[in-house]
């Protein structure tokens, strides 16, 4: 059935830099998706709870503070605990090359670093949401 893809865009932890998250949110909206924007300072538990209540197809995490290795993996972990591991998780922000492989290992389906075009994020979501 043709229906808008629903994506939660979230900022984890104490990171207050939300410009990137807002740009992605806007781009996804313009691509016909319904974006649920959580606002700042969310915990992994909160983000998973939001994604469940909103019946989201995907969660996008944004980090510019360097805490991604610590915070990102907790989201897929929590999704598994809640039996909601079918929800796609992707991340973006200032993330060093060497961190990408372990994050993918931990269940983050893709990491988008500075310079990524919004088109490639949109395409990735369209191709990978489970439906």
């Amino acid at each position: 059935m043709d229906r808008p893809i629903r994506v939660v865009i979230a900022k984890l932890g104490l990171d207050g830099h939300d410009r990137g998250a807002k740009i992605i949110a806007r781009a996804l909206r313009d691509a016909g998706m319904e974006v649920i924007y959580t606002g700042l300072r969310q915990t992994p538990e909160n983000i998973v709870e939001i994604a469940i209540q909103e019946d989201a197809d995907a969660i996008g995490l944004s980090s510019l503070s360097g805490a991604h290795n610590h915070l990102f993996p907790k989201v897929p972990e929590r999704l598994r605990e809640k039996g909601a591991e079918d929800i796609l998780v992707f991340g973006g922000g200032v993330i060093p090359e060497k961190d990408i492989a372990p994050l993918k290992e931990a269940g983050i389906a893709a990491i988008f670093t500075p310079g990524t075009t919004t088109t490639s994020v949109i395409e990735f979501i369209r191709e990978n949401v489970g439906r």
């Binding site: 808008p4 909206r29 019946d55």
Partner: protein, 324 residues
Amino acid sequence: MDQISAIKSGDKRAAAKLISMLENNNPKAAELLQRCAAPSVRAKVIGITGAPGAGKSTLTDQLTKNLLKNHKKIGIIAVDPSSPISGGAFLGDRIRMSDLNSQPDVFIRSMATRGALGGISKAVSGAIRVMELFGADYIFIETVGIGQSEIDVAGLSDIVVLVVVPGMGDDIQAEKAGILEVSDIIVVNKADHEDTNRTIQQLKSMMGLRMKLHPEEPVGEDSEIEIVSTIATTGFGLADLLEAIDARQIREQAGGLTGSSEKRLRAELLDLIYKKVESEFMDFDEKTLSLSISVVNILEERSNPFLETERLLEEFMKWRSTTC
């Protein structure tokens, strides 16, 4: 466990999935809901409407926190507009309700209007049913907030709360919107603003004028719209607002209760009928391509839209009586 039992036992994922099915016009959703008996106790549905930035989300957040203290279960339906160009939407009401995200007794659902006018989404009445199955005692419907097309919420709510802020727009704006006529309680939020008293006075004089123009309407307590001033960010006036909501509720119950429940059921039934007719008509069109034939007829100037409407309806009724 089936989906309905799961929702009744408090499974938020099952509830969220059913709301999505309703939003996507999945016929299975109606089938599921048909099979469950009507809940004996219906939730109190409170519509929250008002201009963007008036403080609807923050007020909903504060009201919910207050009700949680009394061990109530709360459902929140927050509607934001879909882009008419892309069909996408930016749903941002949760930003102001961050503390409620992980509350076990709160279920929040953001909804895009998906082309519906009137300030709410077409799936809201279904979502109310789902939240009632989930066990919600109170359901808040937060409208889009464009300000001048928000009256659809009135049909689905027991109580409509209009949120205004001092110094924003004059009294004519509110009069134009028609929203004053369907409001039960007016909240003057951000009441630490210097224009607060003036705004309250303007609202009062507008309501006084209404009474003079419509003397046949009941006077006294029943017709009175309560005005409450609040500062949602600090919680100031919230107790007064809750009291006003309860008082309204008690007054209605004393009056035989039927008023708002009847109104809600009427709106819900009409809504379901529209949806059903629309989807059946689409089926009919898919099988017969009648709409395209009509369009060609009109384009080639053999007919006009008014004639074609009659013809289409006749054909549709015939088709329906043979297939159903």
